[in-house]
Symmetry: C2
Subunit: 146 residues, 2 copies
DNA sequence: CTCGGTGTTTTGATTTATTCAAAACAACCC
DNA sequence: GGGTTGTTTTGAATAAATCAAAACACCGAG
């Protein structure tokens, strides 16, 4: 257990270094705070760090999230009506399901077949680099709540 | 010319009434301010109204945009990194091309073939009602600017 | 036509999410 | 270990939007 924690920290350190970023406690703590499948906003990350590394300032959280996002170690999404959210899952082009009632976010793998969403009908002269798909609906809990 | 202006106003009035909204000067002015193909934020709308109906407050603009958006007379989009934008084109499920450098927005008709983007690989129990696709890239001007 | 109820707008303050700037600090190469 | 550079802290400021209460205007009933 202690071994696996040490290992996770070491892996995180290695990923930071590989990205050309210095290894610092706030960065390790942020990487540790966001579990796979979660989508956390800056405030939620800050609150989690207030348990694991209470000296961390809110601005440091913004700085870390910005650095990790820019380095590709976290992915940032901004669903309409919600503050920016950060997730662990990177490197694939997965999409998101957002509950229009409670804001809950779930991942979905790319849409049916090949990524057709990368091909709009006309590009208006734009050179594309990403297609982002957000599905809006009601999550199971909000369906149950009527 | 005066006739066409009168007609546009009358059409806008009819659409407001049909939506169950009262017909007011600020609402007519907002509908008049947003031309087809444009994507304006609340501040841009407010600035346009400061010419055509200068007594309108910023909060009234927010109120009008909210009411018209809720009634389906305007569509609201919120690309990441940008304030909410409002457009005229409603009732079709078109998508958007956003320049990641300057923020310029262009409309695109739905992606190739049938709307495949309405079918994620797994819905995680969500009941879907909308799929929103945002394409990110560089607009022609920003390509030219290097 | 005018009166009254309801919905809208104004006025002014407030909140939320985020960014800026400068000083203190810490990681890491030598 | 010591210096440079990047990071974090501290504190203030901004942008976008929302809230609340009072003034007002639309529009249907009479």
């Amino acid at each position: 257990m202690a071994t696996s924690i040490r290992t996770a920290r070491d892996e995180a350190s290695a990923r930071l270094r590989a990205a050309g970023l210095k290894v610092t406690e706030p960065r390790l703590a942020v990487l540790d705070a966001i579990a796979p499948g979660e989508h956390l906003d800056a405030d939620e990350v800050f609150q989690r760090l207030s348990r694991t590394l209470p000296s961390t300032s809110r601005q440091a959280v913004y700085g870390v999230l910005g650095a990790l996002g820019g380095a590709g170690l976290l992915r940032r999404i901004e669903p309409a009506g919600s503050p920016a959210l950060y997730e662990n899952r990177i490197g694939d082009n997965h999409h998101h399901l957002v509950c229009s009632s409670c804001g809950k976010v779930a991942d979905v793998d790319c849409v049916v077949g090949e990524p057709p969403c990368l091909t709009p009908s006309a590009t208006n002269g734009f050179v594309l680099h990403t297609a982002e798909v957000t599905f809006w609906g009601l999550c199971p809990d909000c369906q149950a709540a009527g």
